[in-house]
Symmetry: C4
């Protein structure tokens, strides 16, 4: 139920849909996905709604009214004539389990290579540490039953499990690599989710090349990882203009 905006909730939808449309366009402009690969969504927690890219539609053809809005809990269609992304159940599973405001699923080239290689992305530099507090984890493979059943929901479950089993928090680890598939990335809002997706691709690229130069590297110093993450995030942050 919308808690802000006009009586019929349409202004809530407008803002949310606009945010999602912009995020989906940014994903393509930044080279994080081609064709109709990839999708971005954002949640209005007060209203219990999620806006998400429609399935298999080129972004040039879209305006905010084309963006489907669904119920965060049930996935039921709330607004929009187009079918939502086939990955919608994955997004909804994540919104229900994690305290995040927006989710981006890309097929960005280097992050996808790590996901396909079924390897976690090690933290090999300070750019990584600026965004991700440790290695970006990789999910287990899904079972044949999970793939044959409610596959997209099972993907979301695997992501949540991956964070939980490593004691990770969505706010300090804003991405997981889905094995044989690609990255899911999130943030407090769509801008942050897209920025994190770009940061992920950037560090996935440099880690790939770093290991080509020095195969035995495992991680930067733990102190350096902590220093860089904490100077940008959390109570002791001194990066940026807000603190």
């Amino acid at each position: 139920m919308p808690t802000t905006g006009s009586p019929d909730g349409s202004h809530v939808y407008d803002e949310l849909r606009e945010q999602v449309l912009v995020a989906n366009r940014r994903v393509v402009e930044l080279g994080l996905a081609v064709l109709t690969f990839g999708n971005a969504s954002a949640a209005d927690r007060g209203a219990g709604l999620v806006a998400i890219k429609p399935s298999g539609v080129l972004l040039d053809e879209l305006h905010p009214d084309s963006i489907p809005v669904v119920d965060l809990e049930t996935g039921a269609a709330v607004a929009g004539d187009l079918r939502p992304s086939s990955d919608t159940p994955t997004h909804l599973r994540l919104y229900r389990a994690l305290d995040v405001g927006a989710i981006v699923h890309t097929h960005s080239p280097f992050a996808t290579a790590w996901a396909q290689a079924q390897r976690e992305l090690p933290c090999l530099g300070t750019t990584h540490a600026d965004h991700f507090r440790g290695p970006v984890p990789i999910t287990r493979l899904l079972s044949a039953d999970e793939i044959a059943g409610d596959y997209e929901d099972a993907t979301g479950v695997a992501i949540v499990e991956t964070l939980a089993s490593r004691g990770l928090d969505a706010s300090t680890m804003p991405a997981v690599l889905v094995a044989s598939h690609g990255p899911f990335v999130w943030g407090r809002d769509a801008d942050e989710a897209v920025a994190n997706a770009l940061a992920l691709e950037t560090v996935a690229t440099s880690a790939y090349r770093t290991l080509a130069l020095e195969a035995a590297l495992e991680s930067i110093q733990p102190e350096l990882l902590a220093r860089h993450f904490d100077r940008k995030h959390g109570p002791t942050a001194y990066y940026g203009q807000s603190a």
Copy 2:
């Protein structure tokens, strides 16, 4: 003989040529070919005609009337002053053997590397499975006699053989890599053929990098391959807006 359009068939040619011109331009814009490398064609099966890029001409200089139209069966010139692509016999051989509406031959960087390496492109991720139902196969090398003889036709024959010998259908395997050469890709129409060529380059890129990270990988799980292909294609598809 044209079966639709104006009495003299000129409107049939216009639409077909326009489609082919746009496809050839997209191939260059998407970085799938440089200079005059690569070529796209489309068929009007009712009319028994194929429109194809002229040979060795930069696309900036072209308008639809520049696009040669040839007879699908005989290759005889039907319209246009320019000589058709030297690869026209390859295209015609494919139109006669396969149920496809358009063909794109690119020199896209990573797909060409796989073709030159004489290796089939393994299916290492869901993006691959979304477009190609299994590894993209590679042709055998041509014999010295085939190269010295009707070389471009022999290339088409080798592509058709490659599909047949593996029991593959053009609709579920819309590309073949020609050994020492590069990819031929197709679709129901020019838009789909170009999209498949872009998808091929995308997955050729990520497969290259995936193996650099994990050399022993052979394939994603067969269940995952089937699930992803089938959610986009065929009777049980639930991706996109059309089903």
Copy 3:
């Protein structure tokens, strides 16, 4: 204390800030950094001032008045409402130790890979020799105490040490790679510093690929290195229009 410009020094700031804003924009346009990664600064030695990018701000939002100006010796804020880059202490340490007019810190993809691999960048071609008189050195890792303490200043100290311990001069070696982090690059002015950062990325890229083709290479001939550097720099230079 400003030695040129209007009585209140504002014109000195304008020119310096404009130079710094342009340099920061060039860094992004040239692909040497994404998001808010990277930062450029320039010094007015007569005035004892340094202008530097504000921390964590997207460049689209900036105009020259947004550029912070700080005291070269103390780091105290002299002008501007925004907080200067968190890397400011590194820049100031370099200005105090080295005779340079501008400094650029990028996260350019290949130079960062070398820095993360903790390897110096060998001189494998004449393009390298045109800009850097020998291998671009890499710093030692910082100690846990240095990381926990005045970390950004310690980074600058490590850069200065790296040059000194190898007997290098900032004018013939206009870059150092900071281990696990990325490159710091300089020049007589902001234009030259940006050009050197682009040259560094270019040669870091070709060195990476050169070693992939021929892993055992160590250096070009010392005579060739000297010839190329000296034809562009120093008393016997005959490259360019100025000599």
Copy 4:
């Protein structure tokens, strides 16, 4: 002495300079060189003149009158206030030894990697065979005396020697890689030289990646090499519109 154009030869210079300016701009636009790296020239054999890029000048600042014109035999300045490229003696040596109309020296990323690796570029695909009739050869290293002496002329001598010692003709092998340096490429005119430089970078890229996938490859079939080269070049050519 000019043999065509207006009495004072100025129209000969205009056309030649314009051609050279366009070629130098294309080299940068195509990503074959950054900053002031790389240079293009063209000869008017009737007039015994060569126009070439000025040394160390950014192309944005140039108009045709800025392009230096020198005597093909002596290198003496004929027109223009700017100093010609420091590589001018290399170009002149090539014009005197080879029947070519234009020369392009780039630092294109992958061709430079092969040159720095001191490896000839093998012919691993038909795109290579379309442009270069066999492996693109690499020069020997220059001696310390050659480097200390008339270095740029010695570079030209080494290129000519490399062709001669392999029995190669400039018309069927329009490029040589200079060891530890980069490619020199030519053609009948500036357009063809630039196109060959782009083709070289394209095939240097795919050869690099082909060997990463299949290290033992040495060459495509000799019949295939001959077929592709000859279908585009020489008396039996059937590619393009001109034959």
